[in-house]
Symmetry: C2
Subunit: 137 residues, 2 copies
């Protein structure tokens, strides 16, 4: 199941991408328009800023804005920040690899075998989609 964090994060990013100008948008504005708890959204936007997806500006007229063009923002990056590893088990993770302690041999492990295919399928989707693809025309 997709976490609300990811759901909210995607909605916020899409909201920013849909702005005509590139002026900063306040948290309060996004939270109101997208029905998201303001405090929760705060922490989500913060993590997106710290990982280089968003920029922020303080003071009057401040808020959050996209640093790159929507079509330059890959879903692989966004999903890893918001949802964590794309792989469903650490033993098939590209960026967060870990050996399963209860598994004697990855090469003959059926879970590994299936989850490798699942990972590849998901990666393909996330690599082929950018934020621009999520904005409705």
């Amino acid at each position: 199941m997709l976490s609300k964090k990811t759901k909210y994060g995607l909605k916020a990013l899409t909201f920013l991408a849909a702005q005509k100008d590139k002026l900063p948008v306040q948290i309060a504005e996004i939270s109101k328009q997208e029905n998201i708890s303001q405090k929760f959204l705060e922490s989500i936007l913060l993590s997106l800023r710290k990982t280089g997806i968003l920029g922020s500006k303080k003071g009057k007229g401040g808020g959050y804005y996209l640093i790159k063009e929507p079509k330059e923002i890959l879903m692989t990056d966004v999903m890893r920040i918001l949802e964590g590893p794309i792989a469903l088990v650490p033993c098939v993770s590209l960026n967060f690899y870990e050996k399963c302690e209860d598994c004697p041999d990855e090469k003959t492990c059926s879970v590994n075998k299936l989850m490798l295919k699942v990972r590849d399928a998901n990666l393909a989707v996330y690599r082929n989609n950018t934020l621009a693809d999520l904005v409705s025309i």
Copy 2:
């Protein structure tokens, strides 16, 4: 993240599929060979039996066995039983559809848009893989 329930279930199914004969295998045997808590495994095998994947036999020489040939057992069915809906959000689920209460319009929802593609990618994998594909040669 994949739940341990699913992980254990897949390992147990693969273990059964790898048997030379089709004699029932005891829970204790599977739990020992695959490093799985016996009681937990009990409940997993039970749900696989109730959904028509496994059969069971009581008394001496009893245990669990596959009802169908491994290549007839689709991962779509197995995953739905063990892990639940394949879709990550209910609004794109084929078998467990539900409207998101916080989303005004699915057609313009970015989460819906992305998760639809993710669902299709995952479905494709699960439809194209059977239990037979998980057994190492």
